[in-house]
Symmetry: C2
Subunit: 422 residues, 2 copies
């Protein structure tokens, strides 16, 4: 029997136990710091498949020297990274499939229709935090590897499956895997792209602006300067920068039809202490989208220069500078050449399953992919099942059919890329 | 010896013990809920002067029926009101002198040059929370009454000194005193007007607006609607209402030279939960200035109608109404006719001391005065020593010379208004 038919049949026949595995993973609330129980399930499964398993707690001291290291944590003790290797016989191209095990917190429970950690299935969709982002993608990858392993196929190149921590807070888990020496000829990250192929990934960084005013009693507010009114000017100024930066991507085919390829989102505002006082400080916090072929440094420089130009339109800002700081998470951008062989391997696998061309776009958000390309020049593609729009939101879900089709595509990709040893 | 000369001499000779009394009062941190120790000092002093003293904890249940009642507290137990009466011999006009004993919290201590409750004196200025707002005014009134009492003068009308709680949070203390039956032919409130006479007092109320958006991931922010951007439109709309309302007062001589007689101050803004998400809710909190001859109801109605007109400029607001609520403190406006005899009595006393015309203006902030005029039609004037601009701020202080001159003016006012029984 043709290998691909065998693999396809295996995937079809093993849907139920795959659903059970995903359900078990979703039922573990693997937010940052609480990844161990979910990783235990992954470890158990990898051992069951007979892969070579590597489990370690990333070492903060070791990572600190990397300019790509970012964390809000003091330690990753009891937050293991897990890697399972299906070793090739040699002379083939290797692949890393990288997925994160951490999920963002569920938020306000009242906004969920049911328990965010139930893994409940309705109409062939599994609901729960992490179904789409990205335990579904991880399970699809595991099923692809299992299907190959159980079909008695020997690959020339190795398949390295990575279940990493800390993607949601800037990529310390993937960085640790890279620093541990894991390397491959290509990387696939099954983040929820809704089965679109993302050869370019947007980077992003968080920034904080402090806009100053001068306090006064609200009854004589003309004696003060409202930081709230000044922050309106700052927000409008930033919207102009967003327009300028996005004009440059107008002709990029991967951003065709995307209204704002690299948005600057001001997501939080807070200022003033008392309704009856003129506020003397407003803090704005936002996410700054970084273009796939831009560096973080250039992006920061452009933001800083732009903010300093506020003084040209209002003298106030000359004496009361808007302060900028960067904080929290950060994802470096990444990209692979569109004519790279790994692109055609994946596209062919897609066409095999769907019998149509894949949609190729650039990602609207950052992933760990940028780390692979920027640190080790590993060609990386983001492609996976799941609904981007429900990631991080209540009633997150994944379409199980999509998950199984993705497993098929991943299996074909592995077979073609790593090559079968006849 | 002429009574006025006697009184003036008494005030001059008793500066030191008056300073000590003020210092003791300032050293008690009489924020809302902690007024008792400061009131003890007032009670002791009133007893020492031989006034008829009335001390009671206002009863919340009794006050609840009044439409003017407002509080954030559950009980006023151990937060006494204190009244001391210097009874007249009869047939004269009576006067209430009303001052509040509560102070606003000191805020960030690091912003104070020294201990906010020291009562330290530098260059004839006493520093500390409550010096200006308004323990200085209270002590000036007490000295005026003492000077009359100790000069063996008998008044026809009674002098009712009220040391009330809760002015800073909307006037429950003064309301309790009115409901207890205290009444007079005129009321003087020695709030810090920097010795200007305020026959009209602005009212004010706090309002809260909830501006809605629609959540989305920051990387695809065009899929959402930013409540932060929508709130810019709301703030600008409110600034227009402020202009409209203040145009009406353009020709009021009492607001001559005041850039914005009845400001609408948006003092707080808060919205969004995450830098990478489009915010779906922004809360604005502000203070709405109410004109002296306007009712609170009309002011609210105008605000509500104006906010509803947002939908004319942006369809979004048609489906996502901006919600309005009123909360926290509220001060009703008040005014006295400019030709009321009490106005000329006070103005004459002022000219007696300063040998020049007083400045007559409308207050930029609310006081308890509105309660006296709106509930019992008592003619009320706000006039007192102290720097408006340092009230509620770090390094609050009062000029002691101003305090003594105010005591003199108050004593002459009492003598003329209540009349001396020869």
């Amino acid at each position: 029997m043709d290998v691909k038919i065998k693999v396809k049949k295996y995937i079809h026949d093993n849907r139920n136990q795959t659903v059970t595995l995903l359900q078990k993973l979703v039922q573990e609330r693997s937010i940052s710091g609480n990844e161990a129980p979910a990783q235990e399930i992954v470890i158990h499964h990898l051992n069951h498949l007979g892969l070579k398993v590597d489990v370690w707690d990333p070492d903060i001291d070791e990572m600190k020297s990397s300019p790509f290291f970012i964390t809000q944590r003091d330690s990753f003790s009891n937050s293991p990274n897990v890697v399972g290797v299906l070793e090739g016989t040699g002379k083939g191209k290797s692949i890393i499939i990288n997925g994160h095990i951490d999920v963002v917190p569920e938020g306000e429970r009242s906004q969920w229709t049911s328990d965010p950690y139930s893994g409940e299935i309705i109409d062939n969709k599994m609901y729960g935090r992490g179904t789409t982002d990205m335990k579904g993608g991880n399970v699809a990858a595991l099923l692809a590897i299992e299907a190959i392993k159980m079909s008695d196929v020997q690959l020339k190149g190795s398949v390295i499956f990575q279940s990493v921590i800390e993607e949601e807070s800037g990529g310390a888990g993937t960085l640790a895997a890279i620093l541990r020496g894991y390397d491959a000829d290509a990387v696939l990250i099954p983040e929820p792209t809704k089965m679109k192929i993302f050869p370019k990934q947007q980077g992003s960084m968080w920034f904080r602006l402090k806009v100053k005013g001068r306090v006064a009693h609200g009854g004589t507010r003309y004696e003060g300067v409202s930081a709230i009114e000044k922050s309106i000017a700052v927000i409008q100024h930033i919207l102009k920068l967003e327009s300028l930066r996005n004009e440059r991507l107008l002709n990029d085919p991967l951003y065709k039809g995307v209204p704002i390829p690299i948005p600057i989102n001001i997501g939080r505002i807070e200022g003033g202490t008392w309704p009856s006082s003129v506020s003397d400080l407003v803090t704005l916090e936002g996410r700054f989208g970084v273009a796939p072929d831009e560096t973080m440094e250039n992006a920061k420089e452009e933001l800083e220069n732009w903010i300093s130009r506020l003084a040209e339109q209002d003298e106030w800002f000359k004496d009361y500078h808007v302060e900028i700081e960067y904080f929290g998470a950060r994802w470096v951008p990444g990209s692979i050449e569109l004519d790279h062989p790994f692109m055609s391997t994946l596209s062919n696998a897609f066409m095999n399953v769907f019998e149509k061309d894949p949609i190729i776009e650039a990602s609207p958000w950052g992933t760990d992919g940028g780390l692979f390309t920027q640190i080790k020049q590993m060609p990386t593609i983001v492609f996976g099942p799941g609904e981007t729009k429900v990631a991080h939101y209540p009633d997150e879900y994944i379409d199980l059919d999509e998950l199984f089709r993705c497993a098929e595509i991943m299996a074909y990709t592995i077979l073609d890329w790593c090559e079968v040893n006849e």
